[in-house]
Structures are given as structure tokens and as C-alpha cells.
Symmetry: C2
Subunit: 196 residues, 2 copies
DNA sequence: CTTTCAGTGAACGGGGATGTTCGACGAAAG
DNA sequence: CTTTCGTCGAACATCCCCGTTCACTGAAAG
């Protein structure tokens, strides 16, 4: 097949780009550098991916194909709020740990590059928002205060995991347990405040 | 005076650099851009600051002169652990809010640039570590578990404030109150676990 | 066997940053 | 009044990246 080899080349390019994104980050992955690492001419790269956006979308797409983001829906089996939080945070934190360098680079450079920022929102924004809602909704209505929502959002954030694990040396599992317990405490406070 | 005008030029340069650090961040503040904005020849800039490190140190020094970091020692007046946490987090969060863009840019680019990272540690690492210890030590020994230390470190982190305020829309004061209460809850859990 | 076409290799002009060097100017210091 | 010296303005060579173009080769498709 003709198209097969074309697809082959495309995969080599995306693979090379992902490697660079993991090591130096998207911002430092110039088209020249990607072409070099893929063993391909720059002109070839431009034919497959006319701009950054096309390349970013291909890379994030392939990465998520091979390493699916934790499915928010999987937490609905747990109905107890703290247990659901523990389950959700556990799977998310494991994902953060497994793909730390890539996520860290992509978030860092996304603060600067608007196109990358947009792709990040597209790829990670939706699932995390869904997870946030599912965790919050496990608590009784009275507990679902802005405070609780904020703590859930904080708990889900990549930087929170990174701070707990990399700066304080916690194990990823302990970090998830700590934040689940914290959410439970916050919910109790929230409900008490609502009653008063 | 001869030296006065020399000092004048130096200040113009540092001011211009700080402006750029606030707007686009240190990484995007090339020597050319700084010289342009300062209205100074590049050669002049190089005479005052031979390398990035010299310029970074001058900038951070001047900024901290004009906007001193919250003094960790000021929290010792409060002996109650939660009150001390509220005081410390309150002053720190106010600092984060007032200098958000500069801090955000400097932390982001520090992830990439080793020299900048070093300067960041030098300028912010020490005071934050001191604050962390003072907050932790307000609790009884039994409560000072790794968990509590980790939560204190998380509470002090710039990203935590940013997540609570910018992503969840909390007021800075509410964020400080929320995290103080959270620390208190964590300490209770920690002490209970230690007793068991 | 010929056509098609993805990929090659090389080059183009343009942009920006780097670090250094030089002569000339002009005002303060002696 | 003359020396000193910080600053200017300009130029240098070097490096990296950008987006595009073009003649070419070789193998799959017809």
C-alpha cells in the first residue's frame, strides 16, 4: 500500500514530537528539532502538519489513545462520597505520576502558548470537570458549598499532586488518601455551616 | 557625581527588566528587549550585567526591597496553631495576590531556566521554609506528622492560592480561612492517628 | 512498463538573539 | 583646560528558527 507508508511516516513524526514533548516540552520542540529526531526532512513535516495546532492535536490524540485518561464515569459505582473521592483521586494521581514529565511540560508551556493552552483545555479540561462534578455530587446537597467545590478542584489539580509527592515526599497513594480525608472534613464543616 | 548617573542608568535597566518580567516573563526578556525598553544600548547593558544571573539577582533584590516578602517571624505572636496559620496564610496569600503575574511568570520560567530556578530558591525558598516550620511547630508534637507537614507545604504554595482564587473564584481571605481550617482538621486527624 | 507521488536534499530570504569591539561624544573630575 | 570614562551608535560574526520552493529519486499503483 501507498497510504501505509505514508501513515508510517506520520507515526514516526508524532512519536518523535511526543518524545521531545516529554523531555524538553512543546515550546522547545521546534519543527526543525522534530524533523531531525524523526529522521525526516522539514519539508516532509510541513506536508503532514501545516502548523503547531495540527501537530499538537495529533500528539495529544495519540498519547490519549495509548494512555487513556481515567474515565470519570468509573467512579459512579462508589456512592459514598469519601470512597468515591478516594477512587477518583487514586486513579487520577496514578495518571499524574505515570505521565508526570509530559503533563508538567505541557501545562508549563500552555501558560505561554495560546494554541497549546487551547488543546490542553480540549483534552484535559472536560474529563477533569466531569470528575469534579461527580465527586461533588456524591455529597448531600447541603454540603455542596463553594468551599467544597474549591477543595475538590484543588484536590484534582496536577500541581497539588506534584507538591504533595515531589516536595513533601509522600507516596501517591498516601496523597490520594490525605486529600480524600480532607474533602470529607471540608464537607462536614460545610454542612455544619449550612445548618447554622 | 559621576557615580550617581551611573546608578541612574542601572536603575533604569532594572526597572525595565522588572517590567518585562511582569508582563512577558524572564524567559522572553532577552537582553535586546531589556536594552530597548530601558532606552539603552546593548553594550551598556552588558557592562552593568555581564550575564542573566547578575540581572536576575539585581531584579529580585530590587523587587524585594520595594515589596518585602511577609516576614515569617511575624507569626510567632500567635501561639494558637490555627490562628497562627490564619495569620501566616493571610499575609502570604495577600502577597501572592498583589504580585501574581510576576510570581507566576518567574515560577513558570524557573522550571526551564536553571539559573532563574536557583535565584528563585534563594529569594523565596528560605522564607517559605521558615514559615512552614513556624506553622508546623505551633501544633503539639504529636500532631506534627508528615501528613501535616505536607498539608502545610501545600497550603503555602503559590499554585494552591492561584487554584483556589483564579479557578474557583474564591476571595483571597476566604482561601486563607479555608486552608487554615483544613490544616486544623488535618492536625486533629494526625493526633488521633498517633494516639492509636 | 510507465505514471504517480511521498519523501529527499538543498537552497532561498527573512527574522531575531548572542557576545564583542570600535570610534566618537560629552559632561564631570582633576 | 585637559583628562577620564560612561554611554552611544554601529558594525561584526555566529547561531537557530521560520516557511517555501524546486529538481530529484525510487517504489508502489496502474
Amino acid at each position: 500500500m501507498r497510504a501505509e507508508q505514508q501513515e508510517q511516516t506520520r507515526r514516526r513524526i508524532v512519536g518523535a514530537a511526543l518524545e521531545l514533548h516529554r523531555t524538553v516540552g512543546p515550546a522547545a520542540s521546534s519543527f526543525s528539532a522534530v524533523a531531525d529526531r524523526a529522521g525526516v526532512q522539514r519539508s516532509t513535516l510541513y506536508r503532514h502538519f501545516p502548523d503547531d495546532r495540527a501537530l499538537f492535536l495529533a500528539c495529544s490524540g495519540q498519547h490519549l489513545d495509548e494512555h487513556p485518561f481515567p474515565d470519570p464515569a468509573s467512579v459512579v459505582s462508589e456512592t459514598g462520597p469519601e470512597a468515591r473521592a478516594a477512587l477518583g483521586l487514586g486513579s487520577l494521581y496514578r495518571y499524574w505520576e505515570e505521565h508526570e514529565t509530559l503533563v508538567a511540560n505541557v501545562l508549563r508551556d500552555g501558560e505561554t502558548d495560546p494554541v497549546l493552552h487551547e488543546v490542553n483545555e480540549l483534552r484535559m479540561g472536560a474529563p477533569i470537570a466531569a470528575m469534579r462534578d461527580l465527586l461533588v455530587d456524591a455529597w448531600p446537597v447541603a454540603a455542596r458549598t463553594p468551599r467544597l467545590r474549591a477543595m475538590v478542584a484543588l484536590a484534582l489539580d496536577f500541581r497539588t499532586w506534584q507538591t504533595l509527592v515531589r516536595r513533601s515526599g509522600m507516596a501517591t497513594g498516601d496523597a490520594a488518601a490525605l486529600m480524600s480525608a480532607t474533602l470529607a472534613r471540608t464537607a462536614i464543616d460545610a454542612e455544619a455551616d449550612a445548618a447554622a
